[in-house]
Symmetry: D2
Subunit: 335 residues, 4 copies
Amino acid sequence: MLKVALLGAGRIGQVHAKSILANAESALVAIADVNAAAAQALAAEVGAEVRSVEAILADPAIDAVLIATSTDTHSALIERATAAGKAVLCEKPVDLSLERALACQAATAGNGAPVMIGFNRRFDPNFAALKAAFDRGEIGKGELLAITSFDPAPPPVSYVRVSGGLFRDMMIHDFDMACWIMGGAPAVVSATGSAIVDPEIGAAGDVDTAVVTLTWADGRLAVIKNSRRAGYGYDQRLELLGSGGLLSAQNVLENTVQKITTAGVSSAKPVYFFLERYMRAYEAEWSAFVTAVKAGTAMPVPLAEGVAALACAEAATRAAQSGRAAAITADMLGG
Amino acid sequence: MLKVALLGAGRIGQVHAKSILANAESALVAIADVNAAAAQALAAEVGAEVRSVEAILADPAIDAVLIATSTDTHSALIERATAAGKAVLCEKPVDLSLERALACQAATAGNGAPVMIGFNRRFDPNFAALKAAFDRGEIGKGELLAITSFDPAPPPVSYVRVSGGLFRDMMIHDFDMACWIMGGAPAVVSATGSAIVDPEIGAAGDVDTAVVTLTWADGRLAVIKNSRRAGYGYDQRLELLGSGGLLSAQNVLENTVQKITTAGVSSAKPVYFFLERYMRAYEAEWSAFVTAVKAGTAMPVPLAEGVAALACAEAATRAAQSGRAAAITADMLGG
Amino acid sequence: MLKVALLGAGRIGQVHAKSILANAESALVAIADVNAAAAQALAAEVGAEVRSVEAILADPAIDAVLIATSTDTHSALIERATAAGKAVLCEKPVDLSLERALACQAATAGNGAPVMIGFNRRFDPNFAALKAAFDRGEIGKGELLAITSFDPAPPPVSYVRVSGGLFRDMMIHDFDMACWIMGGAPAVVSATGSAIVDPEIGAAGDVDTAVVTLTWADGRLAVIKNSRRAGYGYDQRLELLGSGGLLSAQNVLENTVQKITTAGVSSAKPVYFFLERYMRAYEAEWSAFVTAVKAGTAMPVPLAEGVAALACAEAATRAAQSGRAAAITADMLGG
Amino acid sequence: MLKVALLGAGRIGQVHAKSILANAESALVAIADVNAAAAQALAAEVGAEVRSVEAILADPAIDAVLIATSTDTHSALIERATAAGKAVLCEKPVDLSLERALACQAATAGNGAPVMIGFNRRFDPNFAALKAAFDRGEIGKGELLAITSFDPAPPPVSYVRVSGGLFRDMMIHDFDMACWIMGGAPAVVSATGSAIVDPEIGAAGDVDTAVVTLTWADGRLAVIKNSRRAGYGYDQRLELLGSGGLLSAQNVLENTVQKITTAGVSSAKPVYFFLERYMRAYEAEWSAFVTAVKAGTAMPVPLAEGVAALACAEAATRAAQSGRAAAITADMLGG
C-alpha cells in the first residue's frame, strides 16, 4: 500500500484525491494546502490528516507526494520532495519558466527519486488506443498529426493574466500529446494566434485561438488547433496520417441516442469539460504511477518530457510574437 | 444511511455489492448465501458480516434486502422480506412461473413494504435518454418499437435446461423495456424461434434465436429480436418510430478510435457483455431504489411490472410453440 | 443496341425511360399507354414514337419491352410479349393475385423468352455491397435478417383500396430482399399489422404499420418492419446477423455535413423517397437486364422470384388476418 | 441554348465535355486541342466538330469557351476569348505566375466578357451545404477553419517539376475554399512543408506534405493540411469553428454498409479520387456558369477570386521557404 500525501486541495487536488482513494494500492494519509480551510474540508471528506509540507516531507512513512499546488511552486516542491526521497506525481506544467524547469530537471537528476508529470490525456482510453494501434504499426510511419483541442468556455481574464499564456497553460497538453505520439520533441515550431473570442484576453497580452505547426528533424509534421471557446463542450480529437492510413480518436458523446426528424439526424453533444471527459484518465494515470513506483520501473511520463512540452510552449510563444519559425535547441531540452 | 443485507453472493450479487458500496447513502452490513464459502469471500472483501436469511430478516436494524439468489427462491424471499418490513430490490425475473409470481404479487399487495424488480436496463443512460426524449414528446406518438438484444455467446446447455427458456430468461429484459417505453403491457404476443446457433439448445427444448411481436390494444406494435450468439459482443439497441420521427439508442463502443486504410474505415466493437455495458446502470438502479425508499415514493420498477414482463414471456412461449398469437389477459397481469 | 419499347408512360415508366436513355447499349424506340396524352408527352421528350401495344409486339425490330403499366395488366402483357419473342422487364409485383401470377409463370415457362421482374432494390449499391460481402462469407452463415422499410408518407386511401394491401404493394420489395439474401423462399410466415397512422386505411381494410416474421425450413429467420409514414423520409435499412458477425446497410443521407452546438450533433436526414434513393438502382437494374439479354445469360431476377415474393405477401396477408403462422407450400411457388 | 467550344481535350476537358452534354441548356459544338488525335477522338464521341482556336474565337455563333488546356496557356486564352466577346469558364489555376495572372486580370477588366474560374469544390453538395448553413448564421461568426485535403497517391515527379509546386497546384483549391468560406483573402500566410512521402519530390524542389495557416486582418484563422498520399483515397473535409458551434463536411464513403465482427466495426472507405468525389460538382459548376451567362448575372467564381487563391499560393511558397509569415498585400490582389 503506497502511503500518499496530497499537496494542494483545490479543484484538481480534489480530482486526484478521488483517484488515490479509488486505487486499492494507495492510501491518502495527509493533505497540505496554504488555504487551511480547503485542506481541512478535503481531509474531512476523505479521512486524511492535515499536515504541513515540512511535516509531510520529514515523515519517513510517506512514500509519495502528489503535487497539485499552484504552478509557481511546482519546481521547488519537486526538488524538495525528491530530496526527501519521495516519489512524485506533479501536475502539469512543470513550471511557467523553461529556465526554472530546466534547473529543476538538473537538480533532481541525481537524487534517484522517481518524478512523473501529470499529462492525464496520455491515459485517456481513446488516445491510448490510438497510440497503441499506431505503435503496432497499423498505419505505418506517422507523417502528419493533427490535434484539435477546444475548451467549452474561456477562463476569466484574471486567470489568463497569471496563466503564462495559452501556449504554456492550455496547449502544453497538446505539445505533450504530439511529442508522445511522434516520439520526442520537434525541431521547429511555427505559431499563429488571435484574440477573437474575447478582446479582453488580447488586451491582457494573450491569444484565445491559435494554430501551431511542429516539424521534426526528419520532416514529419504536426498541427495543433486550440480555441478557448467551442461553446458546445470539450472538443478533444487526434488524427494521425501515416504512410499506410489514418488513425483518429473522436470525441466522447454524452449518450448514444439518435433522433431523426424532418430537421435531420441529431445526436448528443460531446461531454462538457475535462472532468466529464478525463475522470477515467486521471484514475488510470494514478494507477500507472503507483504501479511504476511499486515495481521500480521507469516513470510513464518522466520529468524530461514535461520539460520538452514546456520547450515547445516557449518556442510557440516566441514564434507567435515574431512571425518566424522558432527552433527547439538541445539546451532547451536540458540535453 | 440505508442498512442493507445482500441475499446471494454469486456473480450478480457481487455486482450489486459494488453498487451498494459505491452509494454514499447505503451500507452493506450482512450477506447470506447457501454457499457459505461464497458468502464468506464476498463478506471479507466488502467488510460485511455473514448471516443467515432468518437472522437478517429478524434484525430490525436492517432496512432493505437485495435479493440476488437463484430465481426459484425469489417469490418466497420477497414474501418473507416484505412480511418482515424490509424494502426489497429483487433481481429479475420475479419467478419462472407466472402463477407463482402472481401469488407473490397478491401476497405482498397488502403489507406495504416497497418491492422493486431489478430491470437494470431502464437505468442505462442511453436507454434512459431515449425514454426521456420520447416522454418529452420529441417524436410524437410511439407507433413501432424495435429492440435488438443479442448476447455475445450462448450459455452452457446445462444452464439452458433450468433457465425457463429464452423468453423467460433472456427476453424478459426486452419485454420490460417494451412495456416501460410503450406504457403498459401489450394485448397480444406472436413469437417465432429457432435453435440455429446450437442444436443442443434445441434438443433441450429451447430456442437460441427468436423474434417476438407485441401488439397493444390500440394497434401500436413492438418487435424484439434475440440471439444467444452475436459473437462480436453485446448488441443492445432500441429504435422507436413515432408519428413525428425516430429515436434510437445505439451500442456503446469500446473506444472512439477510427482507422482508415485501403480496407475501409474501422472502429472499435461494442463492449463485450452486460458488466461492461451496464455497470453504470446497476449503480443508477441501486441509487434510484435507495432514493425512493428514503423518500417513501413509488418504486421505480414495482413488482407488478415484473409480473407484466413475465406475462409477456409466458405468452411468447406459448405462441412460439403453437404458431398462434397469444392474448395477454387481465388475470395474467393480476388485475 | 437493344431496341426497346416502353409500355406505360406514368411515373415509374418515366423513371425507366431515363434509364433506357442513359444506357449506351439500349435505345427507346416506342412508347404505348392507354393515356394517349401521357404517351405523347413522354415520347416527345425522349424522341420515341407512340405506338399501340399490338404494333409494338408485332414489330420484329423491337427486342425488348419494359412493362410499367398498372399491375392488373402485368401478367397478360408478360404472356403476350414473351409469346411474341420479346425479352421482358416487368415492374413489380407480377400480379396482385398469386393464382394469376402462377398461371403466367406456367404459361411462359416454355416459350424461352427471358423475363425479369423489376425488384430495383437488389441493384442499390449499398444493398448489393451487403449481399456481396455476405456471399463472400464475411459473417459466416446468415441466421437472422432484419429489414426496415418505411415510406415518408402514406398514399391516398383511394390508392390503398386498389393496391392489394400493404403486404402485396409495399412489403413485396422486402419479401424479395429477404428471399434474395437468404436464398429462396421461407417455409412459414407470421404477420401482425395495424392501421395506426391513418384510420382511413384501416377502414379500407388495410394496415399501415406491420411486422412480418419469416422462417426458413432450417430455422433461419427474417423480420420485416413496414410503416407507411416515417415522416423524416425514406428509411431503408438491412441488417443481417450471421454466425460470424453482423452486416448492415444504413440509409443514404442528403449530405455529409455535421453541426455541433449546445443542442447536440446534427446531420442531414435520409434522402426523401425512392427516386432520390434508388435512381442509381434503376439504372443498374436496366443495365443488368440489357447485359443479360445481350449475353443470353440467366435473368438477374427471374419471374419465379417475382412469384415467390408474391407467395410471401399472400401468406402474410392470411397470417395477419388469422393470427396464425401461414405455411408457404410448394404449389404456392409453382413447384 | 448556349453554344460552347471546348479548348483542351485531355482528362479534365473530357470531364467538362460530359457536363456540357448533360446540361439541357448548353451544346458542345467545337473542340480544339494541340493534340489533334485527342481532339478528334473526343469530338467523335460527343458529336462535335474539331476546329482551331482561331476559328472558334472568330465564330460569332459560339457563345462561350471552356478553357481546359495546360496552365501556361490559360491567361492568354482568357484574354483572347474575352476580347472576342466569349463568356469564359477557365480551369484552375489562372496561371502559375501571380504576375501574369494579375496582368490577365488587368487586361480583361474592361472588356466586359464574363470570366469564371473552375473551382469545382465550391459546387460539391456537401461543401455547399456547409457554406449555406454558415451563411444562414447557424454557428455565428466563423473563427477557425480547418481544411483537410489529401490525394490518394502522389503524381509522377515529372509532373511535380512542371506543376508550380504543391501550393500552386494542389493547395490552390483549398486557398479558394478558405477565401470563399471566410469571405475574402487573408492578410498573412504561414507555411511549413516536407517531402516525406517521396524524397524524389523533395529533390525536385517541392514538398508533398504541408500545413499552411491563414490569418485574416480581424484575427480569424484557417489552417490547411495537404498530403500527396493518403493511400486510402481522397480525403476532403472541412471544419469551421464559429462563435456558436462547429460545422463540418465529412468524406463521402463508397457505400453505407457496416460490418461488425470481433475485429470491430468496419465501413467502406472514402471514394477514391476527384472524379468519384466531384463529378456532381463539375456538373453543378457548369450549370451555375450557364445560368449566370444566360441571366447576365455575376460570375459565381470571378477571375479576381482565382487571382486571390494564387496570391495565397505565392505567399505560402515564400513562407515555406523562408520560415517567416508572408503578408498578402493589396497589389497581390490587383487592388
